[in-house]
């Protein structure tokens, strides 16, 4: 990674115009075992092979429908009602936290009553239970860490021995009834106030202990994000990820953000040849704010991409949408309109199709094939009579809630299996930018100011509420920084960017990029305004070197070379420009990202060179 500077704004502006015009034009187109031992070994391998069978090979199998519900917090009557409702909706497994605070309220004193009743009531309805180890007991948190009292359950224990005691007691107590264990809810900043090694220590020690106590146990390792392909890729390759039996994923709230990561995860990360046999994937939940409709679509996509189980918030599971899915077997898909998906199923009463789209859309089935004149003549009929007058097929209204529609008229469009990355990108109905040399955001361009590089949709992210302003005759993005303590929540020193997924998405650092930022100089003088980038890399979020913006009112251009990017929309963005550390706001008129072709030597970093204003 290197940080350089160079003033080539005019050339870049011309390049951007050229790319946009060219694009518009193109758019128009050991020792020998005994016999018994060998038999046991063979049967064991057979069982393992079946258990580890990739879901694609078991096409059509519906994922286990699960619900996330804290049964132990409910009264007996409430629990019975909730379980009856879930069972009627087809739920066969529930997932809940085995809250360490409730199980071991005082060190060494275990109280199982509420959880025993919860597990028994679920099992009485043939509903299996998955227990999540955690949250942390408040008394187990190191007081010197000064964790606020209400945040202690999100912290980590001061000693692994305390954790092991809780895990051991839990597994010994439930091992006849519970065989699936997860370690902590989600190991991210919101759910786990600790270091990476803290979490891995909890995960690894629990895995070893549980396996020693219950060889049949299934260990679930949850991801930190919401279908964060880059994060799952790193975790699945780590020793802890390899030791887990199941990779747990969480659904983003927006269904339109589910399909691409699912395709890449199932086919390129976990489905890659080096990952054979494929590790099972379970959906463990959905992002806060996910609607019931989004959860239902999340379940369908989990089915399409071969998840074995799908746990959804209990409130989002109801028989209204689960009942039509019973007895179906998934067969294929199509995208009948931009942003719309249709899935095909085989059912006991014939084929069925289920469709949805991000916004209300009317889709029309393809016109039926007409009999040919030759065919009619061969049948001895008058051709004029045999060819019916073509009438437009009635359209079907679909929207964010999935709709079951007759499949017959659509069957010709069905593509078997699951959509690939390229299928998903094509189904967006937006431009395919894959072969373009650059993407950009140029506020001054009336047409396509966001050309493959997006900011407007990201201004609600924390610290990213920038403004669009005119500055010396140029349209700009402006940071809104404040150093007043009472206004800290409004402080917005970041400009977030999302690179178009067709241009670059999850390539494990194989593409070298040059990011060029055009901004106004520092009107307060030297070393008053600076910037760097925070970007998603092959090792997580990281910073580039700090770059001071030169003094003056000129427009300046700064160039950053990134050679380890792994953009995969983690948290909804790929990189951000950070100006915190400056004593004035930053006005950015354009940002351009180019792919570096290895045959061309990288330009040497230059001193910041002002370019004419205007």
């Amino acid at each position: 990674m290197a940080l350089g500077a160079g003033g080539e704004a005019h050339r870049r502006g011309a390049d951007r115009q050229h790319v946009a015009v060219a694009f518009r034009q193109r758019r128009s187109r050991g020792a020998k075992p005994s016999g018994a031992a060998r038999l046991r070994l063979f049967l064991g391998c057979l069982l393992l092979a079946v258990a580890c069978q990739p879901r694609e090979a078991l096409a059509g199998i519906r994922p286990v429908l699960g619900a996330n519900i804290d049964l132990a917090a409910l009264s007996g009557a409430q629990r019975a009602a909730a379980l009856d409702r879930l069972a009627a909706a087809g739920v066969t497994s529930v997932r809940m936290e085995l809250d360490w605070n409730r199980v071991e309220p005082k060190p060494g004193e275990f109280v199982w009553g509420a959880f025993d009743a919860a597990v028994s009531d679920a099992r009485a309805r043939k509903i299996a239970v998955v227990l999540v180890l955690g949250p942390c007991a408040s008394w187990a948190v190191n007081p010197s860490w000064q964790v606020p009292a209400d945040q202690k359950p999100r912290s980590v224990p001061k000693s692994v021995e305390l954790w092991r005691r809780y895990v051991k007691a839990s597994v010994l107590h439930f091992r006849d009834r519970v065989h699936c264990w997860q370690v902590r809810e989600q190991p991210n900043a919101r759910n786990l106030r600790g270091t990476r090694s803290d979490y891995l220590s909890l995960l690894d020690s629990a895995t070893r202990l549980i396996r020693s106590l219950d060889p049949k146990a299934i260990m679930i390792a949850p991801e930190a994000g919401f279908l964060d392909v880059g994060g799952i890729d790193r975790f699945a390759a780590s020793p802890s990820g390899r030791a887990a039996d199941v990779i747990g994923v969480y659904l983003p709230a927006d269904p339109s953000r589910m399909t691409l990561p699912w395709a890449v995860l199932s086919q390129e990360v976990l489905g890659s040849p080096e990952a054979s046999p494929r590790k099972p994937v379970w959906v463990l939940g959905a992002q806060e704010g996910a609607s019931a409709d989004a959860c239902a679509i999340g379940y369908l996509l989990a089915w399409v991409f071969g998840a074995d189980r799908c746990y959804l918030p209990a409130d989002a599971v109801n028989a209204e949408w689960t009942r039509p899915l019973r007895d179906l077997a998934y067969e294929g898909y199509t995208s009948p309109a931009p942003g719309a998906w249709m899935l095909f199923f085989a059912g006991p009463s014939g084929p069925a199709a289920i469709a949805w789209s991000a916004t209300a859309t009317a889709i029309a089935p393809p016109a039926p094939a007409l009999p040919t004149v030759e065919g009619a003549a061969a049948a001895g009929e008058d051709a004029a009579v045999a060819l019916p007058a073509s009438s437009p097929a009635p359209s079907v209204a679909i929207g964010p809630r999935f709709t079951v529609i007759p499949a017959a008229e659509w069957q010709t469009l069905m593509r078997p299996g699951a959509p690939t990355r390229s299928d998903v990108l094509a189904a967006r109905g937006t431009a395919d930018l894959a072969n373009l040399p650059m993407v950009y955001l140029d506020c001054s361009m009336a047409e396509h100011p966001e050309f493959g590089l997006y900011n407007r949709a990201l201004r609600s992210l924390g610290g990213g509420a920038c403004l669009e302003e005119e500055r010396q005759g140029r349209s700009c993005l402006r940071t809104c920084m404040t150093y007043r303590q009472e206004e800290m929540a409004q402080d917005s020193p970041w400009l977030y960017f999302d690179v178009d997924d067709s241009w670059l998405y999850f390539d494990r650092g194989n593409t070298k990029l040059v990011v060029t930022i055009e901004c106004e100089g520092s009107y307060l003088g030297a070393e008053k305004l600076g910037l760097n980038l925070v970007y998603d890399s092959t090792t997580g979020y990281r910073f580039t070197r700090w770059q001071w913006v030169g003094p003056g009112y000129d427009w300046r251009s700064y160039r950053v070379v990134l050679d380890d990017v792994n953009f995969s929309n983690r948290d909804g963005w790929d990189f951000r420009i950070n100006a915190k550390g400056s004593v004035q706001d930053l006005w950015v008129s354009a940002v351009t990202i180019e792919k570096v072709v290895e045959a061309e030597p990288l330009p040497a970093p230059e001193a910041a060179a002002p370019v004419p204003a205007g």
């Binding site: 000064q146 912290s155 900043a189 790193r234 780590s238 610290g463 997580g540 550390g581």
Partner: protein, 80 residues
């Protein structure tokens, strides 16, 4: 016999190398501030734990305590 030992040693060494070369897990990730210069513009003239606290608040709406942030930064620096 000594040949078998060599094979074992090679396997153990290879396993260790693979384990060390494996990218770190994504668990409990905070933005890596380890490469920043403390008390300079790039850390907003704060210590690195202070800068991590501020950034986590802006991103997640959560204030880490100072000792928590110190532990996280210490681990980030150790893994540089």
């Amino acid at each position: 016999m000594s040949g078998k030992w060599w094979v074992l040693v090679v396997i153990v060494l290879l396993g260790t190398m693979i384990a060390l070369a494996t990218p770190p897990a994504s668990a409990a990730e905070y933005t890596n501030v380890a490469g920043l210069q403390p008390w300079s513009a790039e850390s907003d003239y704060m210590s690195l734990p202070g800068y991590l606290r501020w950034m986590t608040f802006k991103e997640q709406g959560i204030w880490l305590s100072v000792p928590e942030a110190k532990r996280i930064v210490a681990e980030q620096i150790a893994n540089m």
